[in-house]
Symmetry: C2
Subunit: 294 residues, 2 copies
DNA sequence: CCAGTCATGTTTATGGCGTACACCTGGTGT
DNA sequence: ACACCAGGTGTACGCCATAAACATGACTGG
């Protein structure tokens, strides 16, 4: 059973959820190791994060780290949670302003910002990562944003997972491009620009050629903004559909709070005048007014 | 300039787009290496793909591979294209049945199936992968599905990228879980079921706790089906919006072909009666009839 | 027929990685 | 005085990709 700490996930849980009450030692400590790891990964990416380099950065031998951290994987888990505490929504208190869409979008953007500061976050792969308190707080934040819509529990979870993976996926795209530039010294555009032998072959494909000639590849969309808007639209549609099909007590289309059906006449769509106004304004502006910045 | 084939992308292009006219040799050959690589990765994942093991499987030394393939990365590129030819839409001929949504969804499902047969496909990361002919054919297929909608070129490309990354992201989720099971011998559910020390801490988070008690985590949604439906809904909304805002010549809401506006009266929404019928049926059935199979 | 060249496979070596294991060392409790 | 132990060290193993030099056999021009 007790086959060493390296393979014991419960020990990892203890480290992640440890209380802050550690006496400030002068030698090594978990926190110093984690912080050094974050610095290193920020600078060199997750691939550049090695136990050797972390130890070197701290002025100790490689193996000294293992007195404090079970292994590299667990160090990464700890780094993730360390970093997850950097933005506002990390605490246990859930902010409740705005309707579900505003709140969920805010969460997505926060995740996006987090990954801009720490690109390696998107590179962390593999299931079975034990989440720490700050990571869970973010998850709670997202869930609570969607939970108010009245969607069934499994769909709430699915929505949050979908958005979360979207953010990760888009972040990964950037990281990989940046990594390639860092290693080769050649910029993205420069590199692809030099692939003439490839482009020649692409003339055989009519749609690609046409889109190319129309400039679609020269002035691409902001994939994060574009994808996020589509995703939220799709989710909104689901929520509206669920609302329409629930016939006893409806849910406000905007904020999702229940609204009782009047005895006679047309069922109300909004819980309040302000929500109706919000919906109107959103229809007008086409809803992505804030996403275009140029 | 000529700094060895390992760093020359143009050489990689040549390998990927090579003509099939290779004399069948009895020793090593590019194709044999690529096929061995695919087998290995199918069995052990991309992490288990090492030059040593590929060579071993073929009965040669490690370095012999380098006489045919520039390096591991290029081998992976070749494997990707090899495998991309396994489904129908790999040829240069574009199938044109159905409206954009049917076609794009079919592409997504094909990509999904491909990754079920070769899970390592989702693990292939890093920008600057030179695409081979079969990979490009798939891309062309997807682009042509969306190009008919009349969306501006950059948005067509963004839509296809979005859907493609979604498929990859969901596939990655499965791979990682499967990988963890393979390595540890413990199933996903079993492992998470044993994390009591973690779950205890989660009671502090009200939304998570509530969703948990309501069984949201026990009977999860099919994340691929769920996400795909939301995504396509969101894209459809974009297309409709673009249609409404184009006032001279409209586009059929269903199949995207242009439809001229009558001199007087309300502009037509559909290009034909069959498209109108299709839209009607889709509104009726809630559009995801084919996605639920149980 | 011989010499030169080329394609192909092998050997050896370098530098990187995570981490198991035995060891040392100084402080603490008994 | 003693054992114990947390924390830091040094060495070693097995894995990885791949560079560089080398071997071999087939083909080719003279």
């Amino acid at each position: 059973m007790a086959r060493g700490k390296a393979e014991d996930p419960d020990h990892a849980v203890e480290l992640l959820w440890r209380e802050g009450g550690e006496k400030p030692r002068q030698g090594l400590s978990l926190d110093r190791i984690v912080r050094a790891g974050v610095e290193l990964a920020d600078a060199e990416g997750l691939g550049g994060l090695s136990m050797r380099k972390v130890a070197e950065r701290l002025g100790f031998t490689t193996m000294s780290l293992y007195r404090h951290v079970p292994g590299r994987d667990q160090l990464i888990d700890l780094m993730c949670d360390e970093v997850a505490g950097e933005t506002a929504s990390a605490g246990p208190v859930v902010r409740e302003e705005g309707d579900w869409r505003v709140r969920l979008e805010a969460c997505a953007r926060e995740g996006w910002e987090l990954r801009r500061g720490h690109p390696w976050l998107a590179e962390v792969r593999g299931g079975r990562h034990v989440p720490g308190p700050r990571t869970v707080a973010r998850y709670e934040q997202m869930l609570s944003a969607v939970a108010g819509t009245g969607l069934p529990p499994a769909e709430v979870i699915a929505v949050v997972g979908l958005v979360g993976r979207f953010v990760d996926s888009e972040a990964l795209l950037l990281v990989e491009s940046a990594e390639a530039e860092r290693r080769s010294g050649v910029s993205h555009e420069e590199w692809w620009g030099g692939r003439d032998t490839l482009f020649e072959r692409l003339y055989a494909y009519p749609t690609i050629t046409r889109l190319w000639e129309e400039g679609g590849f020269d002035r691409p969309e902001d994939t994060f903004e574009f994808g996020l808007a589509r995703l939220l639209d799709g989710i909104e549609l689901l929520i509206q559909k669920r609302y329409e099909s629930s016939d006893e007590t409806g849910l406000c289309v905007v904020c999702g709070t229940p609204v009782e059906r009047p005895a006679s006449g047309r069922p109300r769509e909004y819980c309040s005048a302000s929500c109706r106004q919000r919906a109107y304004r959103r229809r007008r502006t086409g809803r992505d007014g804030q996403s275009r910045e140029k």
